[in-house]
C-alpha cells in the first residue's frame, strides 16, 4: 500500500509538472513566435537594403514591389524614377500574402530576376485614324509609332511565382493559341498552391511595366511601409 502511494505521488507530481510546464510555455511560445517574426522581418529588411545598394550601383533600372505601400516602383541608380499605385483585385489578399511568403521562401530571398512575361490581352495606344495622321506628319511607318498597351499581363519569376496585372482598358487576346498554352502551363504550376495575386493598374502604368519588365530585370520586394 505504502509502495502504491509512492507511485501515485510520483505520477501526480509528474502530471502537475507537465501541466505547469504547459501553462508556462504557452505565453513563452507566442512571444518567441513574435520574436522570430520580428527578427525575420528585420533580417529581410537588412538584406533588402544591402541588395538594393548593389542594384543601385548598376546601370540598369530595377523593379520594386512594395505591397504595404500599395506601389510598384522603378528605380535607377537608387533614385525613384517611376511609381504607380497597384491595388489587389478584390478577394485576392490571401494570394498576396502567400505570394510574398513564397517569394522570400526559407532562404529569405528579397530579389529575383524576372523569368517570363506573358501579355494575354492588349489594346492599341493610337486609334487607326490618329495613327495615320501622326505617321504621315512624322514620316514614319505606322507600325513604328504604334504601342500595344497590355490590358492583361503576367509577370513570372520561376518557382511558380507569378503575378497578374490588369489595366483599366478593354483589350483583345494577343494570341489565342499562346494563351491556351500559357493557361495550361499556369494551371499545372498552380496545382496544390494558392492562386496567384491579381493587381489592377492604369493603362499607362501597364505600358511602362511591360516595356521595362524585360527578361532578367531584377525585382526587389520591399515589405516595409
Amino acid at each position: 500500500m505504502g509502495r502504491m502511494s509512492v507511485y501515485k505521488r510520483f505520477w501526480w507530481t509528474g502530471l502537475v509538472l507537465v501541466l505547469l510546464s504547459a501553462c508556462a510555455s504557452e505565453p513563452a511560445s507566442s512571444d518567441s513566435r513574435a520574436d522570430s517574426e520580428g527578427s525575420r522581418s528585420a533580417r529581410l529588411d537588412f538584406r533588402r537594403v544591402q541588395v538594393e545598394l548593389r542594384l543601385a550601383r548598376a546601370d540598369t533600372p530595377y523593379l520594386v514591389i512594395a505591397p504595404a505601400r500599395g506601389r510598384m516602383e522603378i528605380k535607377l541608380k537608387g533614385a525613384l524614377v517611376w511609381e504607380c499605385p497597384i491595388y489587389p483585385d478584390s478577394g485576392h489578399t490571401q494570394e498576396l500574402e502567400s505570394f510574398f511568403d513564397r517569394f522570400a521562401g526559407t532562404d529569405e530571398i528579397v530579389c529575383r530576376p524576372l523569368q517570363g512575361r506573358h501579355v494575354y490581352a492588349y489594346a492599341e495606344q493610337l486609334p487607326d485614324s490618329v495613327l495615320a495622321t501622326v505617321a504621315e506628319a512624322a514620316g514614319f511607318s505606322p507600325e513604328l509609332i504604334q504601342r500595344e498597351i497590355p490590358a492583361r499581363m503576367f509577370l513570372l519569376w520561376g518557382d511558380g511565382l507569378l503575378l497578374e496585372l490588369i489595366a483599366d482598358i478593354d483589350g483583345r487576346n494577343k494570341s489565342p493559341f499562346g494563351n491556351v498554352l500559357f493557361d495550361v502551363k499556369r494551371a499545372i504550376t498552380e496545382v496544390g498552391r494558392p492562386s496567384h495575386p491579381v493587381f489592377r493598374t492604369t493603362p499607362e502604368a501597364a505600358l511602362t511595366i511591360t516595356r521595362v519588365a524585360q527578361l532578367g530585370v531584377l525585382t526587389l520586394v520591399d515589405l516595409t511601409d
Binding site: S39, A42, R43, D45, F46, R47, V49, Q50, V51, E52, L53, R54, A56, R57, D59, P61, I74, L76, K77, G78, A79, L80, V81, W82, D107, E108, I109, V110, C111, R112, P113, Q115, L126, V134, A137, A138, F140, L144, I145, R147, G158, E204, L207, T208, R211, V212, L218
Partner: protein, 215 residues
Amino acid sequence: MTRTSRWLYLAAPLIVISAALAVTAVTVGRTRDRRSTEAINAVNALPESADAAKKEMRHARAALDKLSPRGAYIVINTHANRIVLRTRHDVLLEASCSTGSGDTLVDTVTGRRWVFDTPRGTFKVSDKLEEPWWRKPDWAFIEEGEEVPADPRQRLDPYVMGDYALGFGDGYFIHGTIYERLIGVNVTHGCVRLASEDLARLYRDAPVGTPIYIF
C-alpha cells in the same frame, strides 16, 4: 512488321531524345536561375546583437540614401513619353514629351547608319540655351534626300527647337518643337521634345547640373 510499327520504332528514340534534351534544358535553366538568384541575394547576415544590428542597418540605409539625389531631378520615361521634374517626395512638373523613334537611317552612298534612340541612363543638364538654333547634322539632310552642305552656315535652322534647350551631352537636348501635335509619340531623332509651356517651366526650374534619369 507493319508500316505504322516501323514508324514507331524510328520515332520512339527521337521522342525520347527530344524529351531528354527538353528536361536537360529546363534543369540547366533552373540551376542557372537559382544560382543567379543566390548570387544576387548573397549579402552579409544581420548581426546577432541588437546594438550591432541597429548600427549595421543604419550604415546600410545611409549608404543607399547617399545614392539618391538630394534636390530636384528630371526623369524621362521613354516608354510612356512622360517627363517629370521631381524631388524624392514631390512631383514639381509632369508633362507629355516625345522621345526617340528607334528608327534606323542608312546612308546608301557612304553606308553610315544612325539609330534614332533617346539614350538611357543617368545624365546631367550640361548647358541651357535661350532661342537655340539647330545645327543640322548630316542625317537631317540625308533623311530628306538632300546633299550635305559644305558651308556650315547652311546647316543652321533658327526655328525648329522652340524657345529653350537644355543639353545633356553628346548633342542631345530637351527642347521645344513646331510639331506640338506629335507630343506624346515616339517620333524624335533622340532628343526630347516638350510643349512650349512645359519647356519654359522646366527651363526655369532645372539649373545646370540637375541630374537626368532616362529609362
